[in-house]
């Protein structure tokens, strides 16, 4: 009985979401959304839970967010899962995060996972050499398994730092143009060598927990992105934050389009 009611409620939610998204689609929608998933540890502390459960709650919040984004028709979603700076945290915490990531990456390969439901192509962006062998192998397996999907794209930044990405791109550009005229290095040469070149630049960057800084995430790509910092901690992030971010985006969109045409 309880399960039946829950299912009914879920259907009602889905239907009302569809109506809401129809209304939102009347205006311009972003193509690429980026998320900095900040606040998991503060959430766990707030609720008096043990340390690891904040990240688990964060993962569920991520799955809901992805579902809303793909229902809305947003093609690219990037998330900041683990920064190179985070390796400097206590070894126990780093290890538990790696274990959680391994578990969740493997779960993406399940038949019932969101990847198959929405036809998601998954990329793992970052200095994967810094990860332990198991996590790296799992990540590469997921990338290979989803390589044929083309409906929507999920980019997971793990062992990532934007400055590191830029350094690698600069190194590759230097090597490429070593025998030719270095004066002819253009912006496109650096951009082509960026790992994030598989996606366009993000339209909106959302950082939860109210902090307003980029923390070395997508520095090159967010030069013209709208920045949005709701106060909610990442596990508390919900549909209303996404809707608010998109409404703000729609408000400044026409002004931005005018500027882009001038360039």
């Amino acid at each position: 009985m309880g399960g039946g009611i829950r299912q009914l409620l879920e259907q009602v939610h889905r239907l009302s979401r569809r109506c809401l998204f129809r209304v939102l689609s009347m205006g311009p929608l972003p193509t690429h959304l980026a998320f900095i998933m900040d606040g998991n540890r503060r959430y766990a502390k707030k609720r008096g839970l043990e340390d690891g459960s904040g990240h688990k709650a964060g993962f569920s919040a991520l799955m809901s967010m992805l579902q809303y984004c793909y229902e809305l028709g947003i093609k690219y979603v990037t998330v900041y899962a683990f920064s190179i700076d985070n390796f400097r945290r206590k070894p126990e915490e780093v290890q538990s995060l790696m274990d959680l990531m391994l578990e969740k990456i493997k779960s993406l390969l399940d038949k019932e996972s969101i990847v198959h439901e929405y036809g998601i192509r998954v990329y793992f962006i970052g200095n994967l050499g810094l990860l332990n062998d198991q996590v790296r192998a799992a990540a590469e397996e997921v990338m290979k398994a989803t390589a044929k999907n083309s409906r929507v794209v999920l980019l997971v930044c793990v062992a990532y730092n934007s400055t590191d990405e830029i350094v690698q791109a600069v190194k590759r550009s230097c090597v490429e143009k070593a025998d030719r005229d270095v004066e002819r290095i253009q912006l496109v040469d650096i951009e082509e060598n960026m790992q994030m070149s598989v996606a366009p630049e993000p339209d909106i960057l959302i950082r939860s927990s109210g902090e307003t800084r980029l923390s070395n995430f997508l520095l090159w790509q967010t030069g013209n992105s709208q920045l949005f910092s709701p106060d909610a901690l990442w596990p508390e992030i919900g549909l209303r934050h996404l809707v608010w971010a998109i409404l703000n985006f729609q408000r400044s969109h026409s002004y931005l389009e005018k500027k882009k045409k001038q360039l």
Binding site: R41, S83, I84, D85, N86, R88, R89, K90, E93, N161, S162, T163, D164, I166, V167, V170, K171, S173, C174, V175, K177, A178, V182, E183, I185, Q186, L187, I190, E211, T212, R213, L214, S215, N216, L219, W220, T222, G223, N224, S225, Q226, L227, F228, S252, K259, Q262, L263
Partner: protein
Amino acid sequence: MVSLFSVVLTFIGIILIPGLLISRRLSVPFSIRNILRFIKLAAASQNDDEEERNEKRGTMGEKEKRGGLPKHVAIILDGNRRWSQKRGLGTSDGHKAGARRVMENAKDCFAMGINTVSLFAFSTENWARPEVDEVNGLMSLFEENFRSELPFFQRDKIKISVIGNRTKIPQSLLGLIRETEEATKSYEGKHLILAIDYSGKFDILQACKSLAEKAKNGVIQVEDIDESVIDKELMTKCSDFPNPDLLIRTSGEQRISNFFLWQSAYTELYFPNVLWPDFGEAEYLQALTWYQQRQRRFGRRV
């Protein structure tokens, strides 16, 4: 009967209508709690204004030096045109008001003990502004200000650096820039960086080109290129504190618009709604107070 009617009308007049107006203005739902909150806020802000005014008159400089002050503040000067439109003035008046504000705020900043101030005066994307007069007007405004403010910079020992692509700047302005940089290059402790024809991506590109050149000539090995090597090649290498601690963009737009990209990896971003020509001492203090309350973790636990 009539008295009841008049009571009801009075209630509507005195309580309901102002309540609706207040909740509409503040964009909060209409409820008793929000109205009481508004009344408390209004009373409190009266006191705050008074306190702030007293503080400013008194030992303002010492108070700010106590807490964690940013060493390098970067500012995107946005809102000049909107400011002039609001007042029915021309665009050039907006920019002139903005320029005046730059000089005043620079003085305040250095008085508060901040070492480096960077200003996004002109972006590479601004060349494409539709009104040609606006761009020319801006260039003459820069020239005028460099000429008139040089004695002030020399008196207060402020080092001036101009970063950006110099190839499109008119020769007269370029000459003035070189003269100003030369005249102030030996000063230390106060550094004003003006970004004219600057773009964050262009900065990284020129660093890449310079490194490619060095690699070609065998000065460095490509494998040795890392973050600190790039730090030394970026245009902000002229400063002791190349990475801003606080970046302020006025006029409420929440974007970096291709200002410092590499350098703002860990910068606290502050987006006040005020337009640049209205950004004065009080707003500055608010920004610094906000900055002092941030918890900066740089990826680790606090």
